[in-house]
Every structure is written in structure tokens, then in C-alpha cells.
């Protein structure tokens, strides 16, 4: 089977929490979607899985900016991750996976690689 790409609708604008994150379940596993209304772009999507512990918690971290980069702090051991690049600020070797995300009307769509799927979402 060949891997394909789909823009999945993961939630609506009403589900988002300004300045914070929510977790969604996608074909690629758990993803954290952040809505930072005072920035452009305002939407970010990264893996919900904290790379240091393997636990699904990143959407519940505190967001903000450090040296101009948009970041989320892991709620478990407080490492910071750049929301655009996924880079961990405390450890060069560690990154979280990032996903393209966009607003389509009222729907939030995240671009995830999908496997074993007959057709992409229309």
C-alpha cells in the first residue's frame, strides 16, 4: 500500500480554546491543536505525544513565546517546544512532529499522512 495524504477535519472553531490547546484523534494518532489568536498564523498542530515520556499530554501545556518563537511547555517536565518547527528548546536532539493546519470555514483541518485508506476525504 502506498501512503497518502489527507486534510482531515479534526474539529470546529468552537472546540478551540484561545491561547491554549485541545487534543484530537487523527489517522496518525493523537495531535494537539493550538489556537493563539494574537499571532499570525494563529493555528498550530503538533503531536500530542510528549517525546520525553511518550505520554499524550502536550495539548494541556501552557503556551507562550520565548525569544519570539511560539512555544508550548510540556505539562509533565516543562520542556519547551517550538510550535512551528517542533524543536525542543532545552535539547537540540529532540523534536515533536508538526502538522500543517488550516481553517476551512468553521472547520479545522490537519494534514496527516494516512496508510491503508481507500480514498482521501473528499
Amino acid at each position: 500500500m502506498r501512503a497518502r495524504i489527507s486534510w482531515d477535519v479534526v474539529c470546529t472553531v468552537d472546540d478551540l480554546v484561545p491561547e491554549s490547546g485541545v487534543a484530537v484523534w487523527t489517522e496518525d494518532g493523537p495531535v494537539a491543536v493550538f489556537y493563539l489568536p494574537h499571532r499570525l498564523p494563529a493555528l498550530f498542530a503538533v503531536s500530542h505525544t510528549d517525546p520525553f515520556t511518550g505520554k499524550n499530554v502536550l495539548a494541556r501545556g501552557i503556551t507562550g513565546d520565548l525569544k519570539g518563537q511560539p512555544v508550548v511547555a510540556s505539562p509533565l517536565y516543562k520542556q519547551h517546544f517550538n510550535l512551528q518547527t517542533g524543536q525542543c528548546l532545552e535539547d537540540e536532539e529532540v523534536t515533536v512532529k508538526t502538522y500543517p493546519v488550516l481553517l476551512d470555514g468553521n472547520n479545522v483541518r490537519v494534514e496527516v499522512p494516512t496508510v491503508n485508506k481507500e480514498s482521501a476525504a473528499a
Binding site: V24, W25, K55, K67, L76
Partner: protein, 837 residues
């Protein structure tokens, strides 16, 4: 080269300090070292002996460890009294045998003097010098009412405080016409007596005891020469100390006329191979009954044995600053103006209970001595003038006048010469401090670690901080208090900005007073400030993103991403029905159940989406949130108190519940813990809490700023015998002052240590209202208490807020696949990584 043998007799404070000093020199390698101690316990801090009654153990007070002795190859023989010295054969004798020496050090300290009064051999006549003495006093005080201390000096008053803390009615009997005749004058002594009597210790001056006989209402009766008498159950003699020179006498070393082993500037006795240090030694016809001079002798002798020809003991300053039964007393230099031509300046405020006296030289240029009672805040400055001979200002009286009457501000650290002694316990001068700062120390902590300054009696802490701050500043080290890169302010600054400008959201604050978007440092700090100022629900839309996950979801995140739930159980009191509900809920959701250290029940392993359902059930059964997740009041621990306990004197559970219900939910810079004990036995361990309350016959004693954790600290006695209302008012004020002025994540202990003026300052603010803000603090607290809501109740009732608890917003029934479980001791727990399911 074969090693020489060095024997030290006496394992007390000075003996131990000597070994520490010697071990740090190359000479240590030349000696086979043996130490004999008559006491069974390793050297301990006698200066803080009384803390043994407030919960410290020998381990807390110990100066070193057996391991340290072993690592330094020092042979430590405890419980082995040396009974003889043979100077010709160079041997000493103990009940276990004879030992040869090349060099011998006597560090035998002193023993309490018991006046030759008929009847003083009664088993309930005791002394106050060793931990064993304190055990005897405790045993003797068990179940009785009254205790008398004979002797109104420094130690006597400390002993009286100890009797009081054991729940006895305490008396002090002094022969002289005033208390502390050595250190104080008539006015000072009278004020001290007044203050101490206010605290419930009765003072009898000018009383000569003629005999001690069987009592009628108590065990003993003391008859006085004026035909009066006093009944008491036990007597503690504290009528001065005598140098322990028995061994030296028996081998004919030179002894002073009134006792003490004569030493020269090198701390060597009349025998060149025998040395003496500490309280047993007599230098220039003086005995030094304080620990600092003993340490100086110990350092001198260590240098001498290390071959330093120059090392010499040249006397020591005997100035003292202490707190006796909570009353400040200070005595500096020539307090009694015995220097010819000396003149006095006195300031006596009977209203406030402050007495200050300066003794100045005939030409008015130098300070010779001083006496302070009731307020030691002038001590450091006066001591520096006296010790360093700094020229007095034109109008010297400004040094002791209150600032409102034209008093001069404290002597700035800049005015001190390099040689000024900052810490006398460890002999650290201002020059030493500059030295380590130049060598790279850049904060108070490292200066302390490097020089040991302020790690002895602690009396120099405030001065040390001033010197370090000012020296760092001079070197251009900016002591930054900025909370993070987004705000150029400290937490306290931000608090004031929010309060004064009526700011209600983080957005407004950062837009007007900061930059960027915030981070996980400033957001929770501001959330806490906003909560204190306006007490809005923490899940109000604007506040949600500011909080740490624990605050956001009102539960504590555990290592696998699930949460624990801790319902409030005020004072640890719970009905069987409620206990059953906890059990049922835990069973239904398969929650691991454990009793916490704060007398409540913790339920572990709830997923995010289960939290509101669980809370719905708990709230229906009458539970409220326990704020275990918040920087706020945790629990008020209590013992069972006089409702059940045979010893209890107040209802500790009732008070704990009152306090817990009053302060629950209050947001603070860090967590706050409290406890209430029903009597002096302190079963609730209240002194290890931020606020510790201990019942007395007459009310409550309040201890503040204690904590457990990584760096445990006992609380400081703040106020005594408070009524219920006074207790609550006092706690209201301290809590509110803390909430308003502390730094982010600063617990009460560190906050208090960092307040300029420390505990004394805090007392002035809270008990004397020196800033005139007490009304405001109380009002603020009343507002907060009035607007309390159970956050969980508000959350489960609001469908919008409940939405936040969806684990995956697009898949409500999806279970997080990484949470895997196993069973241990009949309960569910998370699987450890790599462990088979």
C-alpha cells in the same frame, strides 16, 4: 615518619570545631587522632539546646556525623570519661585503659554551678547543660504543674522558657535585684522583667533561697531569707557555669584563682604538650562563656599545630544579641560604663517597651558599649561602631532614636572598614566576603557556602545580606528580580500594578506593562495574582490558558498523563458515610487509593474525561475540591485534641476545621500548609508548617514560616496565648501580607528570610501595624473568604466548562492507548516502561 598521637578530651562544640579545622590542614596527616567524650552523643549544638524541647532531635543538633570522623581517620570514643592524666609518662586514663599521647588538647567545657543550698540534692533539682539534662527535665515535668528556675541570667531565662513550653507554670528566682545583672542595667532589667511577666513567667528578684524542703501542694518548697516561700514541683539551677578543670587540677597544671585552665596566646597550658580551648580555658584571667571565642581558640590551636608561628588568640568580643522568651535583648562591650569618663545616652519608650542605652567615650567620638531591650534592630549598627571604633556622628543619640524622632538610618555596609567582623561565629570579615566575591561568588548562597558566614547562630544574616548585595552592586552584578523575559518586574511589582490599575486580564497586563505573549513562568504567576485580587473562577475563559495543567483541570497530573483527585477533608475529620462514598467512587472508576501525608485521601488514575463525572458524584455526597493542585492552602492537619486526648487542652480539630474552611481556595505564591496541635506534645507536627498552631492552657501559640520538603525548617514562634479571634486575625494578616509581597514560588520561610529585618520586621508589620496596613489586609481577606466558590462545583454545573475535559475533542469515546495498567497489592497502577502487561 611515624605518626604522633594527638588526644582530644571532650567532644563538645569547641572540641569538634577544632577537629574540623585541623582536618583541613596538612598537619592532620602527621597525627593519629583520638577523641574521648564523656557524653554518649556525638558533639551537638549546645547553643540551640532548647530546640530539643520544640522538636529537634540529636540528629538535628549534631555538629558532624560518625561517618565524618571515620573518613578523617579520627578514632571517636564516646561515653568514655577521662579520669586521669600522667604528664611524666604522657598518658591518660579512662575506665577502659591507658593511652599515650604526644599532644593533648583539653576541651572539657564547663559545668553548671549549683549553689550550696540545703536540699539541693533532691531528685527533682536539675540543671540545664546537656541533652541528658533535658531528658531529665522532661521526665520530671511530666504530669506536674509548676517549675522554678534559680538564676535570672541568660541561661536561666532560656530554661524558664523551656519549662513554659513543657506546659509548666514557670518562675524565675534571682538573687540580684534585676534580671541579667551581667549584661543589663537597672532600667533594662526592669523592662525585661516586665515583658517576661507579661508572657506569663513570674519573676522574683532579690530572693535568697535558704533551703529546699518537702512541699505541701507540690513536691518541693523553697524557703527564702525574707521568710516567704514558693512551692514547686521541680527546680532547675542555672546559677552560672564553672570551667571543667578537674583533670587539669589533678595533674597540677596552672589553674586560675577562680578556676579555669591557664593558657597563653597559643592556647597552650603550663605544660608545652597540653593545650586547652573553649570554656575550660582561662586566657588573660578571663573565661569566655560563649561559643565564638571558643571557636577562635580552636582555629588558633589548629594553626599552631600546623606550624604557624604567628597564630595567636588575642581575646574576643563578648557582645551578645538574643531573644529570650521572644524578647529582644542585646548587650555590647562596656555596657556598664566602667571606662573612666564614659558617658551615657539613654532612650526609654515605656509605651512601646523599648529601652536603649549607649555608652560613649569621654570625647564623644567612640562607642564603648550599649544595652538594648525590646528591639534589637539597632544592634548590628551599634556593634559595628563599637568593634571598629568608627567615629560617631555629631549627634550620637540619632543612632538610637526612632526614625520618626530624627533617628539616623542603619549604618550602610559601605561605611564599614574591610576589617569589620561580619560573622563572629565563623570569624568572617567584610574583607573575606569581598575576597570570595572577587574569586567568583555571585550570590548570597555561594558566599555563605564559601565562608560559612551566617551558618552559626544566624545573628548576622541581615548584615551579611546587606554587605553581599552592596558589594555585588558595586561590581556591577545586577541582582535581577525580573520574573521572566516578558515582564521587567518582580511578582510583588506585578501585584501592585494589577491592584493599583485594576487590571483584570493577562492580555491587558502584558500589553500595557510587558512584551510578547507570556510563558509558563509569568502566566501562572499572573493567574495567581488575578485570583487573589479579583477571585474569579479559574476556568473563566480569560484565565484558562494561564494555568498550569493541574490548575486548568483542577487535578494533579501524574506521570502517565492521568490525574489524581483529592477532595477536601477539613482537619482530617470525616464521617463514615463520606468515607464510604470515597470508596464507592474509587471502586467504580478503578482508582488507586492512598492516604496522603495531609490527612486526606488521594484517588489516582482518573482520565481527563472521567474527572467531571467523578466530581459530580463527590459533590453530590457533600465533598469540595481540596486544591491539591493549586498554589494555595493545602490542608490543616490536626491531632485529635481535647475532645478525646488525655493531654489535650484545646479543641485542635475544631480550630483546624475553622482555619481550613476560612483559607481554602486562597491563591498564594506557593502552597501553604497549616496544622493545629491540641497541646505542647505537638502530635500534629505544626512547627513544620507555614502556619503552626499549638494549644496552650490559655489559648494558642502561633508559629510561622516553617516547612518540610527538601530544606526543612521549623516555624518561628510568632505570638503566644492568642484567643480564637486573635489567632485568626493574626493569620489573616500574615497570609495576606505574604500573598501580596512574596516572589513567585517563594514559600513562606524563604519569603520571611528575605524580608529586610526578617521575623522582627514581620512582627512589627503584623502585630504592631508598623505600616498601617493591617485593616486593609484584614478587609482583603474578608472579601476573599466571602467570594469563595468550590471550583469543581461551578465547573460540573456549566456545560461549556465541562467541554474542556474531553480527552480528544473529535472522539469522545476514544481511550488514550498509551495508558496501560497492571495490578499490584490488589490495586491498579500504571505499567512501567518495558514491563509486560
Amino acid at each position: 615518619m611515624s605518626k604522633k598521637t594527638l588526644i582530644v578530651i571532650g567532644n563538645g562544640m569547641v572540641g569538634h570545631h577544632f577537629l574540623e579545622q585541623l582536618a583541613a590542614t596538612p598537619a592532620a596527616a602527621d597525627f593519629e587522632i583520638k577523641v574521648f567524650g564523656e557524653e554518649k552523643l556525638l558533639a551537638y549544638d549546645r547553643v540551640h539546646l532548647s530546640e530539643y524541647f520544640s522538636g529537634s532531635t540529636h540528629a538535628d543538633l549534631a555538629m558532624g556525623t560518625a561517618d565524618w570522623y571515620a573518613e578523617n581517620h579520627i578514632d571517636l570514643c564516646l561515653g568514655e570519661q577521662v579520669t586521669g592524666i600522667d604528664r611524666d609518662k604522657q598518658t591518660i586514663t579512662t575506665p577502659m585503659g591507658d593511652y599515650g599521647y604526644d599532644e593533648l588538647v583539653l576541651a572539657t567545657g564547663s559545668y553548671p554551678f549549683v549553689p550550696p543550698i540545703k536540699g539541693n540534692e533532691h531528685p527533682n533539682c536539675l540543671v540545664y547543660r546537656t541533652l541528658e539534662d533535658l531528658d531529665s527535665i522532661r521526665a520530671s515535668a511530666d504530669g506536674v504543674k509548676t517549675g522554678v528556675v534559680v538564676g535570672g541570667g541568660l541561661l536561666g531565662l532560656e530554661a524558664a522558657n523551656a519549662l513554659k513550653s513543657l506546659g509548666l507554670e514557670a518562675h524565675v528566682v534571682e538573687f540580684a535585684p534585676r534580671l541579667m545583672p551581667v549584661q543589663l542595667d537597672t532600667d533594662g532589667g526592669a523592662l525585661l522583667k516586665h515583658k517576661i511577666e507579661e508572657l506569663g513567667v513570674q519573676v522574683h528578684t532579690e530572693k535568697a533561697t535558704t533551703e529546699i524542703v518537702e512541699g505541701e501542694d507540690a513536691r518541693l518548697r523553697m524557703n527564702f531569707s525574707d521568710d516567704s516561700h514558693l512551692e514547686t514541683d521541680l527546680i532547675v539551677f542555672s546559677a552560672g557555669i564553672r570551667p571543667q578543670d578537674a583533670l587539669a587540677r589533678s595533674c597540677d597544671l596552672a589553674i586560675g584563682e577562680r578556676g579555669g585552665i591557664v593558657i597563653n596566646d597559643q592556647c597552650t597550658t603550663s605544660d608545652p604538650h597540653i593545650h586547652a580551648i573553649g570554656e575550660c580555658a582561662l586566657w588573660s584571667e578571663k573565661i569566655f562563656g560563649l561559643v565564638a571565642p571558643g571557636y577562635t581558640m580552636a582555629r588558633t590551636l589548629a594553626s599552631v599545630l600546623n606550624g604557624d608561628q604567628e597564630a595567636a588568640f588575642t581575646g574576643a568580643d563578648m557582645s551578645t544579641k538574643l531573644k529570650l522568651l521572644g524578647v529582644d535583648v542585646g548587650s555590647i562591650g562596656d555596657a556598664h560604663a566602667t571606662t573612666p569618663g564614659a558617658r551615657n545616652i539613654r532612650f526609654n519608650d515605656e509605651q512601646a517597651g523599648h529601652y536603649r542605652r549607649m555608652v560613649i567615650s569621654e570625647d564623644g567620638k567612640t562607642l564603648l558599649g550599649a544595652i538594648l531591650v525590646g528591639d534589637n534592630s539597632h544592634y548590628d549598627t551599634l556593634l559595628q561602631y563599637a568593634l571598629n571604633g568608627i567615629e560617631l556622628p555629631e549627634q550620637p543619640e540619632t543612632l538610637i532614636l526612632p526614625e520618626s524622632q530624627g533617628g539616623a538610618p542603619a549604618l550602610g555596609p559601605d561605611a564599614l572598614p574591610e576589617t569589620a567582623s561580619i560573622c563572629s561565629c565563623h570569624n568572617v570579615s567584610k574583607g573575606d566576603i569581598c575576597g570570595v566575591i572577587d574569586a567568583g561568588c555571585s550570590d548570597l548562597g555561594s558566599v555563605k557556602a564559601e565562608t560559612k558566614a551566617s551558618t552559626g547562630c544566624g545573628g548576622c544574616a541581615a548584615l551579611l545580606k546587606n554587605v553581599v548585595d552592596s558589594e555585588l552592586e558595586k561590581r556591577g552584578v545586577e541582582v535581577s528580580k525580573d520574573i521572566c523575559e516578558h515582564f521587567p518586574y518582580s511578582r510583588q511589582d506585578l501585584f501592585n500594578i494589577v491592584k493599583v490599575n485594576g487590571i483584570r486580564t493577562f492580555r491587558t497586563l502584558i500589553r500595557e506593562h510587558g512584551k510578547g505573549h507570556g510563558c509558563d513562568i509569568c502566566k501562572p504567576a499572573v493567574a495567581s495574582i488575578l485570583a487573589t485580587c479579583w477571585n474569579e473562577h479559574i476556568l473563566a475563559t480569560d484565565h484558562v490558558p494561564l494555568q498550569d495543567t493541574n490548575d486548568t483541570f483542577m487535578a494533579n497530573m501524574q506521570k502517565n498523563g492521568t490525574y489524581s483527585i483529592v477532595p477536601r477533608i477539613p482537619g482530617g475529620e470525616i464521617t463514615p458515610d463520606k468515607l464510604i462514598v470515597l470508596g464507592e467512587v474509587a471502586k467504580e472508576y478503578n482508582l488507586y487509593t492512598k492516604i496522603t501525608g495531609g490527612q486526606r485521601v488521594d484517588l489516582f488514575g482518573a482520565t481527563l474525561s472521567e474527572l467531571p463525572d467523578i466530581w459530580e458524584k463527590l459533590i453530590a455526597a457533600g465533598f469540595e475540591t481540596g486544591h491539591a493542585y493549586g498554589k494555595s492552602l493545602r490542608t490543616v492537619k490536626s491531632c485529635v485534641g481535647n475532645t478525646w486526648c488525655r493531654y489535650g487542652v484545646q479543641d485542635s480539630v475544631g480550630m483546624a476545621i475553622t482555619l481550613e474552611n476560612r483559607y481554602k481556595g486562597l491563591r498564594a505564591p506557593h502552597k501553604v500548609k497549616m496544622a493545629v496541635s491540641g497541646c505542647t506534645r505537638e502530635c500534629a507536627e505544626a512547627q513544620s508548617k507555614d502556619f503552626g498552631v499549638i494549644a496552650t492552657e490559655n489559648g494558642w501559640n502561633l508559629y510561622v514560616c516553617g516547612n518540610g520538603g527538601m530544606r526543612p525548617r521549623h516555624g518561628d514562634l510568632f505570638a503566644t496565648d492568642l484567643s480564637d479571634e486573635e489567632l485568626i486575625r493574626t493569620i489573616d494578616r500574615v497570609v495576606m501580607f505574604y500573598v501580596r509581597t512574596a516572589d513567585r514560588l517563594q514559600r513562606t520561610s524563604v519569603w520571611m528570610e528575605n524580608l529586610e529585618g526578617g521575623l522582627d520586621y514581620l512582627k512589627q508589620v503584623v502585630l504592631e501595624d508598623s505600616l498601617g496596613i493591617c485593616d486593609e489586609l484584614e478587609q482583603h481577606m474578608a472579601d476573599l473568604v466571602g467570594t469563595y466558590q468550590c471550583e469543581w462545583k461551578t465547573a460540573v454545573e456549566d456545560p461549556e466548562k465541562r467541554k474542556r475535559f474531553r480527552e480528544f475533542v473529535n472522539a469522545p469515546s476514544k481511550k488514550d492507548p498509551v495508558q496501560q495498567w497492571t495490578t499490584e497489592r490488589d490495586q491498579r497502577r500504571p505499567l512501567v516502561e518495558g514491563e509486560p502487561a
